[in-house]
Amino acid sequence: MPIWNRILATVDEHESSLQAVRYLAGVLGGSDACRVRIMAVYHAPESNGHPAPEQRAEAAAQRKELLLGRLHVARQILVEARLPAYNVSTRMEEAGGRTIAETIMAAQRQGGFGTIVVGRRGVSKAEEFLFGSVSSSIVHQATDCAIWVIS
């Protein structure tokens, strides 16, 4: 059974994903009643797209570094908003063959998170059709937790 004050906040490679964390900081600032996990989903570069192993490793390292940077900044935002540091954790999850939304939902179930916080970049209808929308997918998939979609 998910616990309402266990919050899963997500960030990605876009700077705009930190907006959702800033909103969360504004809402929770100073509270020690919630535990927040900040999560980033790592998609390994397609092995077929980067046939040379060294190219692939370089692309993977760049991606991971970017996400780790986002996780670090997101944590700082929450701690600076006076959330106790011991209540804020970070984790990078590997998607494997899953979509980002599937990876986030799996983490939600596994961790018993009662709330998911996700940013919305405001993609167009066409982009959503072609490439999908993480926030829309999460809203559709979630059955037993609250979803905050921050635009």
């Binding site: 998609h43 570069p45 397609e46 092995s47 077929n48 797209g49 046939p51 998607a95 063959g97 979509t99 980002i100 939304a101 209808k125 066409a126 982009e127 959503e128 059709f129 072609l130 490439f131 999908g132 929308s133 993480v134 997918s137």
Partner: protein, 322 residues
């Protein structure tokens, strides 16, 4: 690569050409150096090259595809298409969007193994050369792409609708279902286009060809395939791409009634609301097309959602007359 005079006689016999020399090739990395008459040896099997394939896309001049060769099987003389390893990375334009794509021999080899014996996909196998290149050896399909097949039907649109559309869409729905099945196997075609759907005149099947395009995805791995299916469907229904310019030219009054929401969500001048110019099309079929239009509020996310509406819509089409 070495001269192989011992292969000359058989190569001449197979190709019917007066070859003066034959080279035996076991490493295909430098495919630009390959010539007609060369014999490839891959995992103990041999193929004699006959020439380079050309690709003409939607009326553009035919371009040589140096990494794709016409060939004959050394043993039985059957016609083959040989795709050599060519890593290419480029941006594919989809309306206003650009998608980073790359050719993936590994993906095509994987799908070939997956679809072996399935008449809805081209058939072949992947064989390695001595350098480890995954060379795809494909059975040549007798026939041509869907658009050529449809253009061969000599009739106006209304007659096409009354006499042929039901058969065409019934065959098309099998091909669409095959893409849906591919998705359930965790794979995507990657470049669903009307000229990548062949009409096999020997077997009557409509197999998909060319699965080597790949792209990185994060959320919706099948969106591009679905977009392609929508375009193929619209083409098959109209038997051409209907653009605003075309309607304006042929029927200026109808053009005045067209709205932006009648056109493709992605390709802004391609008409999806075809009923506005072909009023005899049933609403059920037109509604399927509208899911790919700018006016749509709900999109197909999976092929089975598309099929759930397309199948009953086909059942409403006129039966073919004898």
């Amino acid at each position: 690569m070495r001269d192989a005079p011992e292969l000359l006689e058989r190569a001449r016999e197979l190709t019917g050409r007066r070859l003066t020399r034959v080279r035996l090739v076991t490493d295909t990395t430098e495919f630009m150096k390959l010539e007609s008459g060369d014999v490839l040896e891959l995992e103990g099997r041999r193929f004699v090259l006959k020439g380079t394939e050309y690709e003409g896309r939607f009326g553009l001049d035919e371009q040589p595809k140096y990494w794709v060769k016409r060939a004959l099987d050394w043993e039985d003389g059957s016609a083959k298409i040989i795709k050599l390893v060519f890593f290419e990375e480029f941006e594919m334009a989809l309306g206003a969007f650009k998608v980073r794509c790359f050719r993936s021999p590994a993906k095509e080899a994987r799908i070939l193994a997956l679809v072996r014996g399935n008449p809805n996909f081209m058939q072949g196998e992947s064989l390695q050369d001595t350098a480890g290149n995954q060379v795809r050896v494909l059975d040549r399909i007798h026939g041509g792409p869907l658009d050529h097949h449809l253009q061969e039907l000599e009739c106006g649109h209304q007659e096409y609708f009354e006499r042929h559309l039901r058969r065409v869409l019934t065959k098309l729905s099998v091909a669409f279902g095959a893409i849906g099945w591919l998705h359930t196997q965790g794979e995507r075609h990657g470049d669903v286009r009307r000229d990548h759907l062949f009409v096999d005149t020997d077997s009557g099947a409509w197999p998909w060809i060319d699965f080597d395009y790949n792209f990185e995805f994060k959320q919706n791995p099948y969106g591009l395939d679905l977009f392609g299916l929508g375009n193929v469907l619209a083409y098959a229904v109209a038997r051409r791409d209907v653009t605003y310019q075309l309607v304006q030219q042929e029927n200026p009054q109808a053009a005045q009634d067209l709205r932006s929401e009648d056109f493709s969500l992605i390709i802004k001048n391609r008409l999806m609301n075809l009923r506005k110019i072909y009023p005899y099309l049933p609403a059920s079929l037109n509604n399927v097309l509208l899911h790919f239009s700018s006016g749509a509020t709900v999109f197909y996310e999976r092929v089975d959602e598309l099929m759930a509406e397309l199948t009953p819509a086909i059942a409403e089409l006129p039966e073919e007359e004898d």
